[in-house]
Symmetry: C2
Subunit: 259 residues, 2 copies
Amino acid sequence: MLRMKQDLTDTHRTMQVVNHIRALIENGTLQPGDKIPPEREFARSLNISRASLRTGIGYLAAMGVMKVRHGVGTFVADGPAEFGKASFSLMGVLHGFQSWQMFEVRLIIESNLAALAAERAKEEHHTALAEEVAEIFASIDSPSDFLIHDVLFHRILSQASGNPILAALMETITSALYDKRRKTVERSTDLRESAEMHRMIYRAIRARDPVEARRLMEQHLRMAQAAQGMERPTARKTIDGIARPRTLQLDKGSAPSRL
Amino acid sequence: MLRMKQDLTDTHRTMQVVNHIRALIENGTLQPGDKIPPEREFARSLNISRASLRTGIGYLAAMGVMKVRHGVGTFVADGPAEFGKASFSLMGVLHGFQSWQMFEVRLIIESNLAALAAERAKEEHHTALAEEVAEIFASIDSPSDFLIHDVLFHRILSQASGNPILAALMETITSALYDKRRKTVERSTDLRESAEMHRMIYRAIRARDPVEARRLMEQHLRMAQAAQGMERPTARKTIDGIARPRTLQLDKGSAPSRL
DNA sequence: CCACCCTAGAGGTCAGACCACAGTATACAC
DNA sequence: GTGTATACTGTGGTCTGACCTCTAGGGTGG
């Protein structure tokens, strides 16, 4: 009737490797930061060729679950969760993501992140947040440093929200936005105002006031968006990149496996 | 001082392939659904070995940008945008994602999706949405069919929101939730109530009432969550899967490349 | 006209040699 | 003794080319 086949990228051996490692992570044998055995050895122990093993590892590395370091070894990722850095930009060109859409998503997610953080942040988060606010003020004359601590502030806030999934989504958007920001921040003049906003957001979180935290975060982001001239276009035209009409197909295709 | 190296998975050849294909997609040479040349031939034209080409393709396939079909060929993905199906579950076991967190994210994203859809949906979306509502009512006695149209309804709503990024994030969460739902829906008794909710949401969107659409969607999701007994635990214990304490490190590590 | 089988074309796997990189041990010069 | 240069070892990266498996389509016999 409809689709029967599973379009998963589950090529025999590849998935075998992926599932094996997944299992090792699930039962705790492998923890973030751990190193897996050398390819030659690991391949032998799994009774597959090194090439196949590498395919599987490549798969895991592509989505950020593992990190491969030439000449050193392969490790389980340990940084903040994220859905493939490159993934986002690739998906972007493929589906025509636009800047205003990124900001819209950021506004939605981060304002909720702020609200949740206000409700759930622990002492240690308050401390870390306060430190970053201080660093931000201290970096007012150095745009590049300012941006670093700005990013750090938002990342800590993500963790304070107590929802790693939301944090991971935010991280994905943020890293995609980073390059663009790095360029504009340089010629930014009112970093003082931005610093002040961070401080106010921190105070709202500190005071466990979700409503205020959300409001301030929204205000902060709208200001940031305006500063980069990336508001949503009133008309239907592309801001950056080529316009991509692409007949919008209400594709029912590939409904969640089997049906 | 801090990190200097770029931890990107950019192994020479691999990235070379990825960027090449990315370029082909950007300049329109490759469109969703298109087939790329056979590996042997493509590899020769790029002056790299077939193995390297395959590594690159595997990378792209892993994040859902390309689809490989054994014995047929390799194609550019054309379905709804999504950040790697497997990616999510892998990230899940790695960072300890929990059910209530997935619901929380879904609640946040989808309620906003509904609000946006109410503001921006076009005629064609209204039509498609109405059709699915009808299908949903028609499937009240068939849980499996019901679920299919339920998913379709939400997917169309995502497209109607006019923000493909948000839609992609939603799709990622949804596909992860799908399996779990498939099990519970079977023994669900009040599908009628759910169907009614979909109809009301549709009407709110149709009436271009963002506030009401958001409110109804939130209500709908909370009911769904309650039906599956996945509210957020009052205490600090795990619902499913093993508890994973994992010393919460405020990892500053891997700040967005170079600094 | 339909069912079955065969085959061409495309991806999947394998084996083993060799290259490139990172970190450490060693040797030589001062 | 100290320090720097070099060699070695371990680990991932790439290449070749042969062979396996799957899919789709066309040919052939019933």
